[in-house]
């Protein structure tokens, strides 16, 4: 996956924000549920089929303080993890 890749969430999952920007990802067919913290929720919400990974990283850098130098690697790994679990797919 490249920094210019565009990824879109699997819309059959329900993204449910709970407290303080924490969220649940819920598969209504299997009841499988994943918990997401504020950062992963932020990334997930930007996987809208329009943002590139690079643009998500840039927006994250604006939103958060103390962003680590390897942020792009970490974000890419996280998105790849979502794809591997069927929670998102590469659009372009």
């Amino acid at each position: 996956m490249k920094s210019t890749s565009i990824v879109q969430v699997n819309e059959s999952y329900v993204f449910r924000e709970e407290f303080d920007d924490w969220a649940l990802l819920f598969n209504p067919d299997s009841s499988e549920t994943f918990g997401m913290n504020q950062i992963s929720s932020f990334i997930y919400k930007h996987l809208d089929g329009a943002n590139t990974i690079e643009s998500i990283v840039n927006k994250l850098a604006v939103e958060c303080s103390e962003v680590p130098p390897d942020v792009e690697t970490v974000v890419t790994e996280f998105i790849q993890n979502l794809i591997d679990k069927g929670l998102a797919e590469v659009k372009e």
Binding site: S12, V14, F15, R16, E17, E18, F19, F26, P28, D29, S31
Partner: protein, 371 residues
Amino acid sequence: MTKVMKSPKSVDILFTSRCNLSCKYCSNSTGDIPEDLPVSEWIQFIEELGRNSVLNIGIGGGEPFIRDDLTELIESIVKNRMRYTIVSNGSLITESIASFIASTGRCDSIQISIDGSHSQPHDVFRGKGSFYGAISGLECLRKQGIAVGVRVTIHRKNVTDLDNIAQFLLDDLKLPRFSTNAASFFGECRMNSEEVQLTVADRVLAMNTLLRLSDRYSNRISASAGPLAEARRWHQMEMARQTDAVSFPGAGCLSACGGVYSLIAVRSDGIIIPCSQMTHIELGRINHSDFRETWQYHPYLERLRNRVATPLSDFQFCKGCEYIPYCRGNCPALAYTLTGEENHPSPDACLKRFLESGGSIPALLNEKEAR
């Protein structure tokens, strides 16, 4: 102000107030609502729930299967990415509807009421033929592999049938488990309380019997209210009182019900209510009131959520009670039907009152029961 989720996880929808039975202890008090909303209104609302990331719909009534368009409602729930449960008397469930439910793959369980080991103790307050109707519905669901939760409501005419009921459900029908409660002072039961509700002696008998059966059947009998739940909870409270133990977490205040933090309900006429037992508190109307706004900010819901900060010691009702550090005040809906006030301890599940009325706490047979 108590922190609240952006939307409820579950919504209980009483899609109809109609029922093919007229049980003397029906807990619903929606029978005086003349007309059900049309399917189009419900579908519009279900779409709003989907947009608000609600995860589960609890389908209730009345009897939900009395609606000819129930499949349309379920299809809408599925389309909007939710799962569902159904509460039913079972008698209108056919092979065809059971097959449809199975095909959705989204039904977590259907609760069927079976209140006797044979027709007499079941039908006595539910009407002739209702027992066989419930068993027929249950079998239709099991054939399709749908999870069925059997609920036994204990009343004055089946309290001596509990051994037979357990044998019938767990040995003969080979159900994995069943749950119990007791006829409570809601809905129709309020009119027939003297006839159907357990006396203090009945409650003691039910508690002892259910503890023994729960032990014999390796905890395949459960309860969140009623005699079995009370036996376990009251035993813990009494042990704590005798040993002067530290107070239970959250106890000493009106903290018993967490429902208002995770679910809300809707009456068959579309009126939003805090829970299906609090039909008198009208919070708004579906498709007219903003659902999320109602959930998050309605003053009445805030009042119910804040009841957890109300000390039991503030109530004259609790004055001098040694169980306060171990008591959570019990069901607010039952408190309302008995006292006219939700933010009040419920007299029905009050241990002190029960003991003063001649009740006694059974000894637990198995240490696991205490947990």
